[in-house]
């Protein structure tokens, strides 16, 4: 996607520079230390970090290009100056938000977007934990950013993790207009396990392995499971889904391309024969949320109230781990330390 900027001579121009520079992307990556430098799961620990990084990058790009490309977003096919179609793998980045919810976009679909609102909260529907911490507002927290962050709760936590304040809930448009925040929205979805399921990062680095139940529904290690996680029945279990097939094709194309100049590694080395790059053979259903990642408490609490309703109990080691929201989410830098300090002060 091209946006307004300045040309090589410094003259202002219209739709003439890319939305995100290479340096924007690297800046976002630097804020997510384990992306491309994972604690690889046991089955993948024998591969070098660079080769595993190449595999992870290929999978991220395949998701990004298809998610933001013309087909998935019902946008006109891209053509070059001669009118020839531009290949799928070069067509990503056509949108930075769900354009069906953007009232000024040609694809705006009020009915569709209203239906989507049944799946996420704005301020009016938010739990008191959030309304106690966020100013009253009428913002619409529809999907924005590379990871399609959606709902006031996700905007709130992303804001706390990245800014330590309410920047993103106060101005959610940042995810679609600031390139570094845009990429970080994608990396949030990529890195953080949610709702009892692994994150794509966990799948691609072997931090997730299919259980017997997951094998029974056709899930196996690899890129296909990432597709099943992100798109489930809407794209998987279907032999000719254009977006799913494009994602698989882009992934395989990149994997074939990425290797060391000196021949010391190839991305293809990191893919086992039992991995599945596509998801057409996975049963048409949502990715299971009752398996190995079903229990992953994400918050720390300084105390709990005893059965008598009066006694406040503090932990010997500073804090407890809980599922429900507190001011300390484990994905935030130094969250445990901050909780422990608060416990001592209490």
């Amino acid at each position: 996607m091209q946006v307004d900027g300045t040309d090589a001579d410094g003259t202002p121009c219209t739709e003439c520079v890319g939305f995100s520079s290479f340096w924007d992307f690297l800046t976002a990556v630097a804020k997510v230390p384990a992306f491309c430098n994972a604690n690889n799961g046991p089955a993948y620990a024998r591969f070098g970090q660079v080769a595993m990084c190449a595999k992870e990058f290929a999978s991220l790009v395949a998701v990004y290009v298809t998610q933001t490309g013309p087909i998935h977003n019902d946008l006109p096919e891209l053509v070059d100056a001669d009118g020839n179609p531009i290949a799928d793998y070069l067509s990503g980045g056509q949108t930075t938000e769900e354009n069906r919810c953007v009232s000024t976009h040609d694809n705006y679909d009020e009915t569709w977007c209203d239906e989507l609102k049944n799946h996420y909260n704005n301020y009016a529907q938010a739990d008191s934990f959030y309304t106690d911490r966020i100013d009253v507002n009428t913002e619409d927290y529809y999907p924005r950013g590379a990871g399609y962050v959606m709902g006031i709760e996700h905007y709130y936590w992303m804001s706390q993790i990245l800014y330590g304040d309410n920047t993103l809930v106060d101005d959610p448009s940042i995810l679609a207009t600031d390139p570094v925040a845009f990429w970080l929205a994608g990396l949030k979805t990529w890195m953080i396990p949610q709702e009892g399921r692994p994150a794509p990062h966990n799948i691609i680095t072997g931090q997730w392995e299919p259980t017997e139940d997951e094998l029974d529904i056709g899930l196996s290690d690899g890129m296909g499971a990432v597709s099943a996680l992100l798109y489930g029945a809407s794209q998987c279990g279907i032999s000719k889904h254009p977006v799913a097939n494009s994602r698989k094709s882009i992934y395989e194309g990149l994997i074939a391309l990425l290797n060391a100049d000196d021949g010391s590694w190839t991305a293809a080395d990191t893919i086992y024969s039992w991995e599945d790059n596509g998801c057409e053979t996975v049963k048409r259903m949502a990715f299971p949320n009752d398996q190995d990642y079903a229990v992953l408490p994400q918050f720390a609490a300084i105390s709990y109230l005893g059965d008598d309703g009066f006694t406040v109990n503090y932990a010997n080691d500073g804090c407890y781990v809980v599922d429900h929201e507190t001011d300390y989410i484990i994905w935030q830098k130094d969250a445990w330390k901050k909780c422990s300090v608060a416990a001592v002060e209490a």
Partner: protein
Amino acid sequence: MGITYLIYPDSGPMEMETLPLYVSSYGELCGNIYDTDEATARVLYAAADGQFDPDAAAITADTLEDDYPENVKNLLEFLDEEDWDYYTAN
């Protein structure tokens, strides 16, 4: 000794479980993967990998290679600005 996980069921009294975690001398929450089964170890890896570092400095064309964090160094082994511009030109 582990960290206590407070479980609040939809109904009934709160339950407690001890997780295989400990607090390091730096005040960080840690897990020993050798004390756990493989599936739990993988989830512990996931919990560690999900941490963000909002204080990491911006990377620009002027940033010295020695100042790149490890993950950026890994990425730059096979990706450069020319590749990026080619793939994002449209």
